[in-house]
């Protein structure tokens, strides 16, 4: 808490990289298994720096996804800021938990994220069928330990 300043620069940079990773064209075969990097980044920063505006970060990176994917504006921004909010609410409890429990929580967040997007797809009359859209929850949860270690190297949480 008594840090000199919040890591806003790193947050913006990682969010940008995450959005790019989220949207780089991949072959159709493996594209559904691509982890939702944006959610992982937002969860991470909400855990590490809960006062640095993770909800705003979630909103704007979600908005970027909306624009790039041509989704309904607000769809992924709502989902991502909800994930940030839930994580910030739980950050004290989660921070000192072993990585396995964190991974479970991340899987839950990914599920929430996709469920919100799915519900909005349904309400706005887009076709929302297909089970492959849920596939990334698994891969995303498996990616979490790697991400946590990688980002933790560059920025040591107190």
């Amino acid at each position: 808490m008594n840090r000199d300043s919040e890591p806003r620069g790193s947050m913006a940079l990682t969010a940008l990289v995450a959005v790019a990773l989220q949207l780089i064209p991949l072959p159709a075969l493996i594209a559904p298994a691509r982890p939702a990097f944006v959610v992982l980044a937002v969860v991470y920063w909400s855990l590490v720096a809960p006062r640095a505006g993770g909800i705003a970060l979630g909103f704007f990176s979600g908005l970027a996804i909306d624009v790039f994917r041509g989704a309904v504006l607000g769809q992924f921004s709502l989902a991502t800021s909800l994930v940030a909010y839930l994580t910030i609410r739980q950050h004290l409890m989660l921070r000192n938990k072993p990585i396995f429990e964190q991974t479970l929580f991340v899987a839950l967040m990914l599920l929430v994220w996709e469920a919100v997007a799915w519900a909005i797809d349904g309400w706005t009359g887009q076709s929302a069928a297909g089970w492959t859209r849920w596939l990334h929850i698994l891969t995303g949860a498996l990616t979490w330990p790697v991400i946590a270690v990688l980002l933790g190297r560059t920025h040591t949480p107190r």
């Binding site: 000199d4 300043s5 064209p25």
Partner: protein
Amino acid sequence: MAVYTSGQNRSRPQRGSIPGLRFALFAFLSVALMFLDQRGGWLERVRYGLQAAAYPLQLAMNSPSAAWNWTHRIFEARANLQAENRRLRDTNRRLELQTLRYAALERENAQLRGLRRMLPGVAEQWLPGEVIGVESSNLRQRMTIGRGAVNGVFKAQAVISDGGLLGQTLRVGPWSTEVILISDPEHAVPVQIARNGLRTIAVGTGDISAVTLPYLPIQSDVRAGDLLVTSGLGGVFPAGYPVAKVASVRRDGSSPLAQVQATPLARLDRDRLVAFVWFKAGHPAAPAPAADATTGGSPDARPLAVPLPVPVPVPVPPAAAATTEPAPTPDATSAATSPAAEPAPEPAPEPVAPSTTPEAPR
């Protein structure tokens, strides 16, 4: 770590201590955005700006594949190039022959229409553009092309590639444009079977290699291998562009509709170069204006499926059907525009009406 150096935390001590309020704010903002985006399209301008902001990032994201293509091209073996050159020369020769034949057909066709001169092509202007982003899932089949409003691209414009029809523009940014492919589940294109002129609608499936014809009755005359061309209805695409080839027809007694799958002729997942097309408004094969002029060629053109607005008899011989389709306004518009295009020898427009009928059979 140092304490209070920037004082940023001091100035706003409340920051973050009320995440619920902040979330409520952003959630409200999201919902408002969704509402505005869904109703009335008030956010067109906002999207335009956002798309402009997104363009550099999109270019950056495409750069790995672009760099790969570039190095691939640089180091391509000489033998490959020679083989390709030979192949291209062959193709070119064949195409030239075809063009000659096409020109002859076109002339003959123009004569058949009683115009006694070649009709100008239906396309007025082409603009090639490169694919800079692909969104391919079973929910969305979209492409981003590196051309935008500054190049004159407009909404609901036809986009084609060398194989056939690709799709239409959906959201136009200043430098980039989102194109909805014909395989997108929300896209429907009015088509016609080239063999017999039967009109129907081809709807995307979400699978990049398939479109479906869901509105054909079970007894309709369609078989595998049939070529589907655009019918010119709907106000976006001109008549006679190849769209897809029928891959399979299934008729089972349980449904009154035949289940017809077709394969798009444009290689939707492989083309890197596409073309935006502008059409001559008065041309007989130009897109017929849509019933609802405000939505223009909105991707959901499905209401047009049921009533066929123009009761044109289709006695077209199968060969001619691919190039010419009896557009809703066959002679009126062409007779009106053609004297303007060619100044000289045609008699004045007034005597045309009585004189065309005796001239036509000649």
